[in-house]
């Protein structure tokens, strides 16, 4: 099995063979022999050279996964180079900058209008969730092309709220 696993922009070549509880893996050419034991309450225990790694892998969105290993957490994108679908879903359109809701909440204020020019870091709108108001700022300088929400709207995490070009 060959996969490309990306960690914050750095692509790692992963190759491995599974033989029962034993996995032989190459990570960017580094060889590992890992004992793999599924845990009774989910997750997997990896033992490599005696070292214990309790790992839990949770899919987040698309090819993205969150891996926790002990007290450390990682965010990866996993791609199978043989599959086209994987390659395409790696990133969205990049022509325009999108303002995306990071969490579910309610739009309590909008500071811009469609057509308005904004600078990077200008406040665009305010979302309230869990009683905290959070200001969303423009990721770039440009013009507000779209405003997909109105004051009082409820939004979900991942919703595109505005497009700045």
């Amino acid at each position: 099995m060959k996969l490309v696993v990306t960690d914050h922009g750095t692509a790692h070549q992963l190759e491995f063979e599974r033989d029962g509880h034993l996995v032989n893996a190459l990570v960017d050419g580094r060889a590992y022999q890992v004992e793999v034991n599924p845990l009774p309450d989910g997750g997997v225990l990896l033992v490599h050279d005696g070292q214990v790694h309790e790992c839990r892998v949770v899919p987040t969105a698309g090819n993205s996964v969150r891996v926790s290993s002990g007290a450390r957490e990682f965010e990866f994108q996993v791609r199978d180079p043989r599959k086209l679908a994987d390659a395409n879903s790696a990133d969205g359109g990049e022509g325009a900058a999108q303002l995306v809701a990071m969490m579910p909440g309610k739009i309590v204020r909008i500071m811009v209008e469609v057509g308005q020019e904004v600078n990077a870091q200008d406040a665009v709108l305010v979302v309230e969730a869990m009683k905290m108001q959070n200001e969303l700022r423009s990721p770039r300088s440009g013009v507000v092309r779209e405003l997909r929400v109105a004051t009082g709207d409820t939004v979900n995490g991942g919703d595109i709220l505005a497009v700045i070009e």
């Binding site: 099995m1 996969l3 696993v5 960690d7 790692h12 992963l14 491995f16 599974r18 033989d19 029962g20 509880h21 034993l22 996995v23 893996a25 990570v27 580094r30 590992y32 022999q33 890992v34 004992e35 793999v36 034991n37 989910g42 997750g43 997997v44 990896l46 033992v47 490599h48 050279d49 005696g50 070292q51 790694h53 790992c55 839990r56 892998v57 949770v58 996964v65 891996v67 926790s68 290993s69 002990g70 007290a71 450390r72 957490e73 990682f74 990866f76 996993v78 199978d80 990071m102 969490m103 579910p104 909440g105 309590v108 309230e128 969730a129 869990m130 009683k131 905290m132 108001q133 959070n134």
Partner: protein, 508 residues
């Protein structure tokens, strides 16, 4: 005699109060919103009743429904917890008018101390020092500008009705004042149903230290020492300690005496907290406000004094005398609490609601976790994102930190982002270990942290990070796992060979 208590709250504090009820063989009655039908506080109660839909205004803030349920279920008393209706004098009055016991101070004491502006007047009258500023809510933009100019920038805007950082803004310059005022009012209205905001001089490099007080209906008033609450983010406490790392018996006695004086001045009963700002240089202290309820961070006081504050609240509300005198109160060892939030520390602490797919709560010597959530449960967008309070006790501060570090590393919350990684860094921070705490700690910590992150990322390219490599392998296995069923038995001879070869390999 209290036989049944309705708990007008949710989450960890409802669970905490249920436990105190159980200890006293009192039957606990839960209330819940539609979002909380299978919440932990419902599961642990004897009875549970629905108040309404998820939004607080339609459920946990519905005074009429809560009192209706209390009477229908035959409860003798209502415990409000903290937040929601805990500092609402109207609620306290309604409870009493319905012939039920309100587990908290009288509505009159809440009126006097609950509003920060009126509390400042009480403090002035009692001779307890206060921070310079206006004691009345701001009525106009003009007035705000006038007062701010008078006392000089930086100034602090604060919601008159609330606490917990909501409706609070630090303003450094005149041109920031009016936008900040608008935001503070809007948050205050949303959080407390009251947009009154007042203004005071911002004391620079201050410590937030509060005194726990307790009073019964027989005129006994005592204090249980201080809690250091200087580590704050967005004016919200994130780590609390007892005692303060200042650890001065003299300062404790002086502040304690001032707190007792204030408490007695309003004929207060039950548990309360007097918040002070303490100058780290001069050790002068200023009265800030009184929280007329159980405090979120009460466990650190419980761990150090051994006194169960919720049990004592219930006893005092039923008319009993305090079970201890001032001389009985002893401070033993050191306790620290971390508030574990469903927030993403890597993403400006954005709320991270969602389903907790896996939960491992730490245990063991010196560890106490006050949680309100079970594995598989949903952290709702409707309520405060705190999922648990993790507290550690040690013979001294160093031991408490050692244990906290261990417990934080043992803690596993999967499915949502939490502030656990943030705390894991803080307990390893030298300035924290040295006890150099003031309200500027978190900004300074974030500054120290950035270069450390970068150097770590840089070193990763040179030194091999085995943890990263194994995590990459785990991610790859999970991808394949969709089509692969692992063998059910763990006792393969291969594992044996591998472990043996690891042993033999290590010997070479």
């Amino acid at each position: 005699m209290i036989r049944k208590i309705l708990i007008a709250n949710r989450g960890e504090i409802a669970v905490r109060i249920i436990r105190a009820c159980r200890d006293l063989s009192i039957s606990p009655v839960a209330v819940c919103s539609e979002a909380d039908a299978t919440a932990q506080h419902v599961r642990l109660a004897d009875e549970a009743y629905l108040l309404g839909p998820a939004p607080s205004a339609e459920s946990y803030l519905r005074i009429d429904k809560i009192i209706e349920v209390a009477k229908a279920s035959g409860a003798d008393a209502i415990h409000p917890g903290y937040g929601f209706l805990a500092e609402n004098a109207g609620f306290a009055r309604a409870v009493t008018a319905a012939g039920l016991i309100f587990i908290g101070p009288s509505a009159e004491a809440m009126d006097m101390m609950g509003s920060k502006t009126s509390a400042r007047k009480v403090a002035q009258a009692a001779g307890v020092p206060i921070v310079p500023g206006a004691v009345e809510p701001i009525r106009s933009a003009d007035e705000a500008e006038r007062i701010a100019t008078e006392i000089g920038f930086p100034v602090m805007l604060k919601a008159a009705a609330g606490g917990g950082g909501k409706g609070m803004r630090l303003v450094f310059q005149p041109d920031e004042l009016l936008p900040a005022l608008e935001r503070a009012r809007s948050e205050a209205l949303s959080a407390f149903g009251d947009d009154a905001v007042y203004i005071e001089k911002a004391v620079e490099v201050p410590r937030h230290i509060e005194i726990q007080v307790f009073a019964d209906q027989h005129g006994n008033v005592v204090h249980l020492g201080e809690r250091e609450c200087s580590i704050q983010r967005r004016h919200q406490k994130v780590i609390e300690e007892c005692p303060s790392p200042i650890n001065s018996a003299e300062l404790r006695a002086t502040m304690g005496a001032a707190a007792v004086k204030l408490t007695a001045a309003v004929s207060y009963t039950g548990a309360g907290t007097i918040e002070f700002l303490v100058s780290d240089v001069t050790r002068e202290f200023y009265f800030l406000e009184m929280n007329t309820r159980l405090q979120v961070e009460h466990p650190v006081t419980e761990l150090v004094t051994g006194i169960d504050l919720v049990r004592e609240q219930i006893r005092v509300a039923s008319g009993a005398k305090l079970s201890f005198s001032q001389d009985d109160v002893r401070w033993n060892g050191h306790a620290i609490e971390c508030r574990v939030y469903a927030e993403d520390p890597e993403n400006n602490f954005l709320p991270s609601p969602g389903k907790i797919s896996y939960l491992r709560v730490p245990c063991g010597p010196g560890i106490r976790d006050d949680g309100g959530i079970a594995s598989g449960a949903e952290v709702s967008i409707y309520y405060d994102p705190m999922i648990s309070k993790l507290a550690a006790w040690g013979r001294d501060r160093d031991e408490a930190i050692d244990r906290m570090r261990r417990a934080l590393d043992e803690y596993f919350v999967e499915g949502i982002k939490t502030t656990l990684p943030f705390f894991r860094e803080i307990v390893r921070d030298q300035e924290f270990r040295d006890g150099k705490l003031d309200t500027g700690f978190i900004p300074r910590f974030n500054e120290r942290r950035k270069p450390a992150d970068e150097s770590e990322a840089g070193s990763a390219t040179s030194a091999i990070d085995v943890h990263l490599d194994l995590a990459l392998i785990a991610a790859g296995l999970a991808r394949v796992g969709k089509t692969h069923q692992p063998a059910p038995t763990l006792r393969t001879s291969k594992w044996k060979q591998q472990a043996r070869s690891a042993v033999v390999g290590g010997e070479q």
